[in-house]
């Protein structure tokens, strides 16, 4: 068995034979031509054929993946008919008296280099589009055809990378999944895979090689793993995982689009918790009404130095845009305690859970906090972002946070950078102190979200990482439930809303109780959204 890890772009499990996407080997040689007029018209014919193919692809994509995603093929047509592009090819053919293939390849290199040299990640990505359209013309000129031999049975498609045109051309009913060696999760192919609901893993590297063509393979789109020639144990484990996923999908079909409403008509929002951008697919798939907790820590944990404003902005923007107007609650950095990062240079502590962490770091090192806030306020332009602060114990902390926000906004305004002025602000209720002063806190913020894991640990004075204490640990302890009730009453008295984003929110034994308390929202792991919806709909 060979196990390769990559990046998942779409969850789900697929099991099947690997089939390699074969690209024709084209060697573009520079050859002399005598009749340049003939060569130029040979190119024009090939170009017209390519444009017609692209028209067909546009129609197919329009049907499969919608207008916004199909637009790329219209842009490809324009690129092929762009006068700069055509003039460059004609010039090379006529002045150097060379073959059309060489002229196209040279022009493609020049134009894609122009994009690659631009100071904008989006435009740099367009270099791939130039290559893709030029390859199409070259294939026609060389008379080769690309692709997959007729697939008799459904297969997992493997490739170094797939261009959008290649992905769309595949017979969808025969594609079980995608496994590619390279590619980014923002590539068109990744987006198309998500739109087409096909498990896909990218960035597997060159361990994935053509020698595995025809081997049995498993894509675990949840973990981003590809197993080739899986052993019995893995195979049966994956089969189970696949069945569970299919069950979940069946549940989805039943409950998708249904309201989170009790029999007597009480409604509650069900959102999802995520810890990385890669969880977005699961959020959308499970029909969550929003993101109730986006843990921004991964940006810090996965980096070897402080993530820049641009890095953070790109991530927050992507999440906001993917949720298309649904609420996205992003929690500011919660480093410290059990989550340590070397470059923060934090001292060892006797009592890390009660120590220098979360908002306490942000308020003592405002430069770190400001970078994150700038990225958040900028990204808020692109969707419905709310910001939530962890580990709050006093009203004064909120005042300090608001003063820093005012500075950040003033800075953005002065620099002429677009940002959203009004962003919903909330605090985590995870310390007994925040519960006791919840009425005062509720006057300052728009919402509360109860972090039941920490609230339980602080209230019961039980270290949740010490397994010896398990027998004393009661997640349904009446002290916790009274605290949640108290926070809810405070919130509502001051016109704020309240939700739960800790593990207790997904505890189906407590759903009825939470509804009675009048909670406005429960945020749970994506896989729990539908079971929770089911439970809510069963409550009176």
């Amino acid at each position: 068995m060979v196990t390769i890890s990559g990046k998942s772009v779409f969850g789900g499990v697929s099991i099947g034979k690997l089939m390699f996407y074969k690209r024709s080997e084209k060697v573009i040689k520079r050859t002399h031509v005598d009749n340049v007029d003939e060569e130029w018209s040979r190119f024009q014919k090939a170009k017209d054929t390519a444009v017609n193919q692209l028209k067909g692809l546009y129609e197919k994509a329009l049907e499969d993946v919608g207008e916004a995603n199909a637009m790329i093929f219209e842009i490809h047509q324009m690129m092929l008919e762009d006068l700069d592009y055509l003039e460059s090819i004609e010039n090379i053919i006529r002045t150097q008296e060379v073959n059309a293939e060489f002229a196209v390849a040279t022009t493609a290199d020049n134009f894609s280099q122009m994009f690659a040299a631009m100071d904008d990640a989006y435009m740099q990505g367009r270099a791939a589009d130039v290559k893709d359209v030029s390859e199409r013309v070259l294939d026609i000129l060389c008379g080769v055809s690309n692709g997959i031999k007729e697939m008799e049975e459904p297969c997992i498609i493997a490739a170094d990378d797939l261009a959008p045109s290649e992905t769309v051309q595949l017979d969808k009913s025969k594609v079980l999944g995608f496994a590619t060696m390279y590619g980014s999760s923002n590539s068109h192919t990744a987006i198309l895979a998500r739109t087409m609901n096909i498990p896909a893993v990218i960035g597997l590297g060159d361990t994935l090689s053509e020698k595995y063509d025809g081997s049995l393979a498993v894509i675990d789109g949840f973990t981003g793993t590809l197993y080739i020639d899986p052993d019995e144990e893995t195979l049966s484990e994956m089969k189970k995982k696949r069945e569970k996923d299919l069950e979940q999908k069946a549940l989805l079909e039943q409950l998708k689009g249904k309201e989170n409403v009790t029999k007597s008509g009480q409604k509650i929002n069900v959102y999802a918790n995520i810890g990385n951008v890669s969880d977005l697919g699961a959020v959308l798939k499970n029909d969550a009404g929003g993101i109730g907790l986006f843990r921004s820590e991964f940006l810090y944990l996965e980096n070897t130095d402080f993530p820049t404003e641009e890095q953070q902005f790109a991530v927050y923007k992507q999440v906001a845009e993917s949720m298309a107007g649904k609420k996205v609650i992003i929690r500011t950095l919660d480093i410290g305690a059990d989550k340590q990062v070397d470059y923060f240079g934090l001292d060892k502590e006797e009592n890390p859970a009660l120590g220098y962490r979360a908002i306490r770091i942000c308020l003592t090192r405002p430069e770190i906090f400001k970078t994150q806030l700038r990225a958040l306020y900028r990204a808020a332009v692109y969707g419905n972002i709310s910001i939530m602060f962890p580990m709050i114990i006093s009203v004064d902390e909120i005042h300090q946070i608001k003063a820093i926000i005012a500075e950040v906004k003033a800075g953005l305004k002065e620099e002429g950078i677009p940002y959203r002025d009004e962003v919903e602000l909330g605090v985590m209720i995870e310390t007994p102190a925040s519960v006791m002063i919840s009425r005062e806190l509720a006057k300052e913020v728009d919402f509360f979200s109860v972090g039941t894991n920490d609230l339980t640990q602080y209230t019961l004075a039980i270290d949740r990482q010490n397994s010896k204490l398990d027998r004393f640990y009661d997640p349904h302890h009446p002290a916790i439930l009274s605290m949640i009730k108290m926070a809810a009453e405070s919130a509502h008295a001051e016109g704020a809303w309240i939700g739960i984003c800790g593990e207790l929110g997904a505890d189906l034994e407590l759903t009825e109780e939470f509804l009675k308390m009048g909670l406005d929202e429960l945020s749970v792991s994506p896989a729990m959204v539908l079971p929770l919806r089911k439970r809510i709909r069963e409550c009176e």
Partner: protein, 85 residues
């Protein structure tokens, strides 16, 4: 020759999609249509040229039209920019 100035408000600037729509629209006029950003200028009928300008949000561009239907082109393009970019 007619012209107008416009500051891009689309957060992504002139990215592929609006560039495509712009080129399509510009191709419909007889006049020469140019977009200039600072000292760089591009033919609005050529997608590589337009995308190559790399116009970002907040940047000012000048659109000029020169030819028989320049009045129509300028007024329609100004509307296009206001609505799409």
């Amino acid at each position: 020759m007619k012209e107008f100035k416009y500051v891009i408000t689309d957060p992504e600037g002139i990215h592929a999609r609006p560039a495509g729509i712009l080129v399509k629209q510009a191709a419909g006029y007889q006049s020469d249509i140019k977009i200039a950003k600072g000292e760089k200028s591009a033919d609005a009928k050529r997608i590589f040229g337009v995308m190559g300008l790399g116009v970002k949000t907040g940047e000012e561009i000048t659109v000029t039209a020169d030819g028989a239907d320049e009045d129509k082109a300028i007024s329609e393009l100004e509307t296009f920019f206001k609505e799409n970019l």
